[in-house]
């Protein structure tokens, strides 16, 4: 077993070179490189954490904005609704007023026309009475040879007119 049989000859050499090369490893790799590797990892971890925090922040902001927008939208919707309702109301009122004036005017025209019609009918009835009385006088003259005064004829005609 060379580990034991060669021990007296080589143990100092083994220990010496082990210390040299492990020391070198420790100084170059352990002290020199490992902290840089670890700091890279730490940098990455903090950067990821920061990015996540920023994303979270942005999300919150966006959500708040969306909420505010929804609120504004609802308010505007309500206002538009009110506007439409009031406009409808005004329009209805105006229509009603217009309708009333138009009705009044038409009514006035109709009653005036009716009055005119009545007057004309009365007038024509009166004339017909005269004509009928004349005709009745004439007929009585020719048929019976009676001379009837104009007043009698008229009274007779009037009675007939009155009784239809």
């Amino acid at each position: 077993m060379p580990q034991i049989s060669q021990l007296p000859e080589f143990y100092v050499s083994q220990i010496f070179w082990m210390l040299v090369f492990f020391g070198l490893t420790f100084l170059v790799v352990g002290r020199g490189m490992v902290p840089r590797v670890l700091s890279t990892i730490a940098d990455r971890t903090t950067r990821i954490a920061e990015d996540l925090a920023a994303a979270e922040h942005a999300r919150t902001a966006a959500e708040a904005e969306a909420e505010a927008w929804a609120e504004t939208e609802a308010a505007q919707r309500a206002r538009a609704h009110d506007l439409i309702a009031s406009a409808k109301h005004t329009a209805a009122l105006a229509t009603q007023a217009n309708l009333a004036t138009a009705t009044a005017r038409i009514d006035a025209q109709v009653s005036a026309a009716q009055a005119r019609i009545t007057a004309a009918r009365d007038a024509s009835l009166g004339e017909i009475e005269w004509v009928a009385a004349d005709v009745a006088q004439d007929i009585a003259q020719r048929v019976a040879g009676l001379t009837i005064s104009a007043d009698d004829a008229r009274a007779a005609v009037k009675g007939a007119f009155t009784h239809g």
Partner: protein
């Protein structure tokens, strides 16, 4: 056993206080391990926010060590990441490159973690760090580590000595476990491969009966050895973490 043989490559006359510190094949593989580790980690040092594959691999290893220290020691464990990472990767690379079948191209691979003179350095170093941290942080209170909570007054003295001995055994168990696991694996592979070779030399019948099953078994055990390489490196640093936790937080 030739694969465990240490040979001087150069510097046969180098010495410290009369002891030879010749550059051996063991030292060469330590150097290779260090070099590969530096290349590996440097390759993952692009520091990109979105990591590539290589960077991902390196960050996976550092994250693994970081997580292990955080789980075993807590936030205080952060400062040990460089040491534990170096330890883990150094052992892992040593175990792995010792398994690479470089013999196929005429090289002679050497697993220096199969020498307790090498693993002992790592375990004693770890043990010293535990001692230094423990006494620096808790002064003589560190000895209370050897008296668990709730020990009856009568048992304090025997428990203290039992705990002290088990504490002092730690560097040995730590270093020997790695050395034994690596050596056992390599010996097993060598024994099985010698079955294949001598079975083949002894004739077709023996090759079919002993050689082929050994070869199939060898393939499986090679995969197992790769697993053991990782597990032994992991166990070494996991126990280091547990010991450091004792020193950092006592009980």
């Amino acid at each position: 056993m030739h694969q465990f043989q240490i040979e001087k490559l150069f510097g046969a006359d180098w010495a410290i206080a009369g002891h030879s510190i010749a550059f051996t094949n063991s030292a060469l593989w330590m150097a290779l391990s260090t070099l590969l580790l530096i290349v590996f980690v440097a390759g993952g040092l692009q520091r990109q926010v979105v990591p590539g594959r290589w960077q991902m691999a390196v960050e996976g290893f550092t994250g693994f060590i970081d997580g292990m220290l955080a789980a075993n020691i807590g936030p205080n464990g952060k400062k040990y990441v460089p040491y534990i990472f170096s330890l883990f990767m150094f052992i892992l690379f040593a175990n792995f490159i010792g398994l690479v079948p470089l013999g196929l191209i005429g090289l002679h691979p050497f697993t220096f973690t199969s020498h307790f003179s090498a693993t002992g350095v790592l375990s004693v170093m770890t043990f010293l760090i535990v001692l230094i941290v423990g006494f620096a942080k808790h002064k003589l209170h560190f000895f209370s580590l050897f008296v668990p909570h709730g020990t009856p007054a009568l048992m304090v003295v025997p428990i203290f000595f039992i705990e002290l001995i088990s504490f002092l055994m730690r560097p040995f168990s730590l270093g020997l476990r790695l050395f034994v696991a690596m050596m056992a694996g390599h010996v097993l592979l060598e024994v099985l491969s010698s079955f294949v070779i001598s079975g083949g030399n002894a004739g077709p019948l023996l090759f079919a009966v002993a050689g082929l099953p050994s070869f199939v078994l060898m393939v499986g055990i090679c995969a197992l050895e790769i697993l053991v390489s990782g597990i032994q490196a992991y166990v070494f640093v996991l126990l280091t973490c547990v010991y450091l936790n004792d020193a950092e937080n006592l009980h």
